[in-house]
């Protein structure tokens, strides 16, 4: 199978990364099946240690931490993935269009992107959230739009390089439309770099949402989410109870996994280019 062939080609680091991502993804998908309790069900006393029917103990309201972790994976990853897809949709279409049409379209889009990139993303989103209030649709829109600027830069730069190749010129001379050229000629050639960027972008977005939730301005309770779980349980640490380290560690676990894969992928594609 193609998948096993791919795994054979990878380095040890990338394989560990794949394992880490797979474990997280499986627990996200299977959360309702594996979880021993309901997402927001209060089952026992507050901040119980692990053991006795609660593998990771309980949280600040007496909910089962393991259950919350599983549902947290589900919610946080789903939202981060959705944002990454939206950011890529807007960024790639914008970038490829700017490179192909050029002229004032390119000029206008690029200047808008310049302004947004000059502004620190965390500060800008905090300001937007303070004005419109934090809700999941707002979060998705704001972060997707902010991150699409970075995707736009990459997609435009890639397309500019592909633009000048003979096969694009040939397609243009044979009278193909702009969308045909973008989809059939430019996009497939920009794909490897875009895939690596997708992994990295997902990591950034995932960490970003977690940071916002940790600050109390992201995903709101009672929805389980790793960032807000750290925030809610932070007080436990001064009583020598390690509850907040579980969700915080889970965030690190997933991002390390993805970074290991992306690192290998970038290394490999740079080697291919060098040959």
């Amino acid at each position: 199978m193609a998948f096993f062939k791919l795994v054979k080609m990878t380095s040890t680091g990338a394989r560990i990364g794949m394992g880490m991502v797979l474990i997280t993804m499986l627990s996200a998908v299977l959360a309702p099946v594996i979880a021993p309790y309901e997402e927001a069900e209060v089952v026992a006393d507050v901040w119980l240690p692990s053991g006795e029917g609660h593998i990771l103990g309980t949280d600040q309201l007496g909910r089962d931490l393991f259950t919350r972790m599983l549902y947290g994976a589900r919610n946080t990853i789903a939202i981060a993935l959705l944002i990454t897809f939206l950011a890529f949709l807007v960024g790639v279409i914008g970038g490829l269009l700017a490179a192909n049409v050029g002229g004032w379209v390119d000029m206008l889009l690029s200047r808008i992107v310049d302004v947004f990139m000059a502004f620190p993303a965390l500060i800008l989103s905090l300001m937007v959230l303070s004005i419109v209030g934090s809700s999941i649709p707002v979060l998705i829109m704001v972060i997707a739009l902010l991150d699409s600027t970075k995707v736009y830069r990459l997609a435009r730069a890639l397309a500019m390089d592909i633009e000048v190749m003979e096969f694009v010129e040939a397609a243009r001379l044979s009278g193909e439309g702009i969308w045909w050229i973008i989809i059939k000629e430019v996009l497939p050639n920009a794909m490897p770099a875009l895939i690596a960027e997708f992994g990295l972008r997902f990591c950034f977005i995932f960490l970003f949402i977690s940071a916002l939730s940790f600050l109390g301005l992201g995903i709101q309770p009672p929805t389980a989410d790793w960032g807000s779980m750290v925030r809610e349980n932070a007080g436990a640490i001064s009583f020598d109870i390690m509850t907040p380290l579980w969700p915080a560690g889970a965030i690190a676990f997933l991002t390390i996994g993805i970074n290991l894969i992306v690192d290998w992928f970038l290394h490999r594609s740079s080697q291919i280019r060098a040959q």
């Binding site: 000059a118 500060i123 940790f214 380290l245």
Partner: protein, 319 residues
């Protein structure tokens, strides 16, 4: 005008323009409140008297462009308005918190910059050795860690288990410098680890890029000693990209400080901004957002200008 000063002027103009646009965006933020901002801000407490008072406070009786310029001139004169929650002047609330934030960021930078450059050089010189692999794996992990994970681990180990360092970085004007430094040890380490990894990786990449370039190859073939190659040929040329990375990371550090301040309950500007956002205290959000954004833009501007100034090709054009 020489090409060098032309480029610097161009970049400076772009920077000033960016700050102008950013200030307009921040100003429009409040304008964009759905409906009447005064009603939206007051919510349940919107009595006619309150509304009228707030409208006057926000200068809502004037047209937008007049309001923008009057806001801008107020800001330039150090008047940042009054907080909506406790009616205190924003400038007074921000004042010492801003210095606290700078103090923390400066402490982190003072440790991170020399350490990152040293480790980056070591990794580059001995690249593909076990030292390089170790540094590469640990820096990759450090980049993937959220700041609060590092922060709480440090608190759990040094403040709770061993109990030698304070877990809450409280700081007040009466403290001596050494007392202040002790209380910010843990947040400084947290902040430092986050930028250290990135700075180190970029330094390594810059030096490896130069060590593989043809003129270094030439120097080696001529039989010049390794040490002389590094100090006389590699470092002068690696300096420009490294300075650029360092300053860009400092800009990032100023923003990254927000989460770290919340973890350690440190009385800085980031903590204030987060509080203000959750209370929707717009004048405070506006002012602290503006300060953060301007610091970030100015540092990036400095990085770009230094990159232009240290570019050897442009230097020779001037001569």
């Amino acid at each position: 005008m020489t090409p060098l000063s032309q480029m610097v002027t161009k970049r400076l103009t772009a920077g000033v323009l960016t700050i102008a646009v950013v200030s307009i965006i921040i100003f429009i933020g409040v304008e964009a409140l759905p409906g009447d901002p005064a009603t939206a801000i007051l919510g349940q407490q919107a009595t006619p008297e309150n509304l009228a008072a707030l409208r006057k406070e926000l200068k809502l009786d004037l047209p937008p462009h007049v309001r923008y310029f009057s806001w801008l001139s107020d800001v330039a004169h150090g008047d940042l308005g009054r907080s909506l929650t406790n009616q205190r002047p924003v400038a007074e609330m921000i004042g010492w918190r801003f210095w606290n934030t700078l103090f923390l960021a400066a402490a982190a930078a003072a440790v991170a910059v020399p350490l990152a450059i040293m480790l980056g050089m070591l990794a580059a010189l001995y690249h593909d050795s076990w030292l390089d692999r170790l540094l590469s794996i640990s820096s990759l992990s450090a980049i993937s860690f959220p700041e609060f994970f590092v922060g709480y681990i440090l608190i759990a180990v040094f403040a709770v288990k061993i109990g030698i360092l304070p877990g809450v970085a409280s700081i007040h004007p009466g403290m001596t410098l050494s007392q202040k430094l002790v209380s910010i040890i843990l947040p400084t380490i947290t902040l430092m680890l986050v930028v250290l990894a990135h700075m180190m990786r970029m330094t390594r990449a810059a030096i490896i890029g130069i060590l593989t370039s043809p003129y270094i190859e030439m120097a080696k073939l001529k039989g010049i000693r390794q040490g002389r190659i590094i100090y006389h040929h590699a470092i002068p040329n690696a300096l420009a990209p490294i300075i650029n990375v360092v300053i860009m990371d400092l800009a990032w550090l100023v923003v990254g400080v927000v989460v770290v301040e919340v973890v350690f309950v440190y009385p800085g500007l980031g903590q204030l901004l987060v509080d203000a956002v959750s209370k929707r205290d717009l004048p405070v959000v506006q002012a602290s957002g503006l300060i953060f954004a301007c610091t970030y833009i100015l540092l990036n501007l400095t990085a770009d200008v230094l990159a232009i100034l240290t570019n050897p090709k442009l230097r020779s054009a001037v001569r």
